[in-house]
Assembly symmetry: C2
Homo-oligomer: 283 residues x 2
């Protein structure tokens, strides 16, 4: 069993998961982290399920071998595919991004319909729908695919008329639905929170709750570490590592945008060579 | 040496190269083709040069082993990196997308500055700049990175107010430059030809030439086959194969959009397993 001083491992297909890592660092400033962005193989959303599972296992194996105490799958595509089976037979607790988001939305909602904004792959997976229905089988869920939000964030158009126009187009079908809570179901979307909130108010005629799955994941991680008595000891020196599988010199500006506050150390380049589909155990 | 009846091989990182394949099919209706889209590893533009070269070699090897007579690299990222070295030591003629586009632009232009629209990776590579300067060392070239055009095409917003707004933002810096020719330096952009032409007229105050590198590549392929006496014999039955490295069942609508006229046969799934960086010969 890993010691309390061990780091938390976080992976995503790319850099978007840094919004989740950043939320964890804010909620748990005494914990160390290893972040892995699989930039050599991003994006996962367009890959077949078998390929996504294979990539997820490569990432989890690297982090497990680095001695982590808890694994955060900060990738919606992997989380939506049952965490890629990573929790199965693993000694490590595994936290994905779907269930914490669904739980937080149920808590934030006054009982009305919930809208989930996500990539086409996340929406197609119906993972949020199933997670919400596990908690409340009769809740109405509106899933909205927003394929242009990720490229708009990566272009840095966080406060741009085009982004507002795109948000209006995507949210228009929510008019008259009575939705009272929106889940930002993609790690990139917290950066568009302001525009999404403003357009949602416009479309729905009143202010509604916006649930950011990054914050919900951080709360879930805190809870799991505490339940499991694996919270870092007070005064432990905190050290984060940031790794990518390709082009560490190119991540700078985009990574900083996702991380938000404070400066990032240089990214390390790591090789998580893909030895095929079978036989990789997480723990 | 491959027979005249052999197919032409075309690869791209994804499905955008189908605009090039389609232009070849229209220009050379008597030729057979094998198209390979590396959908398991798309996009290439964000990868490191070493990774791009490795992927390009995997693709070229698959096509060479399928018995092609000419290789078309319908991928701007690979073409911009000196065709990934694929032509080096190969018996197969190799045609990329950069030089034919540059040549066509010089022919279409009345001698004024030329603008190149491309992805950030293509613009960063300065490949069009160098190709144009090889033909005319004193020509002014304006390169414009248009990162949102690819996602807009993939979203199918080919005739949408948002796309016009984005085009206006990207083309605004061309005002007053006297540009008389624009190169569509990405395989996705021919689908935005109408909007780009309209906005360019608006910004530059007059109609200008729009050069589509897909058409230019098709002309170059015809020339190479003719010079090399490898044009298909008249009356040869034409058969195309369309292959992808992942998720052949998901390519439908997007592929049809790029291919344009006529129906596409089902895509085959092929495995071009990556055995590492070294030692793969194209011919």
């Amino acid at each position: 069993m890993p010691p309390r001083t061990a780091p938390i491992g976080v992976f995503d297909s790319g850099l978007g998961g840094l919004t989740v890592a950043s939320a964890i660092a804010q909620a748990l400033p005494g914990e160390s982290m290893i972040y892995l962005g699989d930039t050599a193989r991003v994006p996962y959303g367009t890959r077949s399920p078998a390929t996504v599972v294979r990539y997820a296992r490569n990432n989890a194996k690297f982090l497990a071998e680095s001695g982590i105490k808890l694994l955060v799958v900060a990738c919606n595509t992997v989380s939506a595919q049952g965490l890629g089976g990573l929790a199965d037979g693993s000694d490590l607790p595994v936290v994905g991004v779907i269930r914490p988001g669904a739980q937080a939305a149920i808590q934030a909602s006054a009982g009305g319909p919930i809208a989930v904004l996500g990539t086409p792959a996340t929406v197609r997976s119906e993972a949020y729908l199933h997670a919400i229905h596990e908690l409340d089988p009769h809740r109405t869920v509106h899933a909205v695919a927003c394929p242009l939000f990720v490229p708009l964030v990566e272009e840095g158009w966080l406060d741009h008329p085009v982004t507002t126009l795109v948000a209006r187009e995507y949210l228009a079908p929510l008019a008259g639905t009575g939705v009272d809570t929106i889940i930002l179901g993609c790690t990139h979307y917290p950066l568009l929170r302001g525009i999404i909130a403003a357009v949602a108010t416009e479309v729905l005629g009143r202010e509604i709750a916006i649930v950011d799955s990054a914050t919900a994941v951080a709360a879930q991680v805190a809870l799991r570490l505490s339940t499991w008595e694996r919270t870092a000891p007070p005064g432990m020196p905190v050290q984060h590592r940031f790794c990518v599988t390709d082009a560490p010199d190119r991540v700078g500006a985009v990574a900083a945008r996702f991380w938000g506050a404070g400066s990032l150390p240089p990214f390390e380049h790591v090789d998580i060579t893909d030895h095929g589909a079978g036989g990789v155990k997480v723990s």
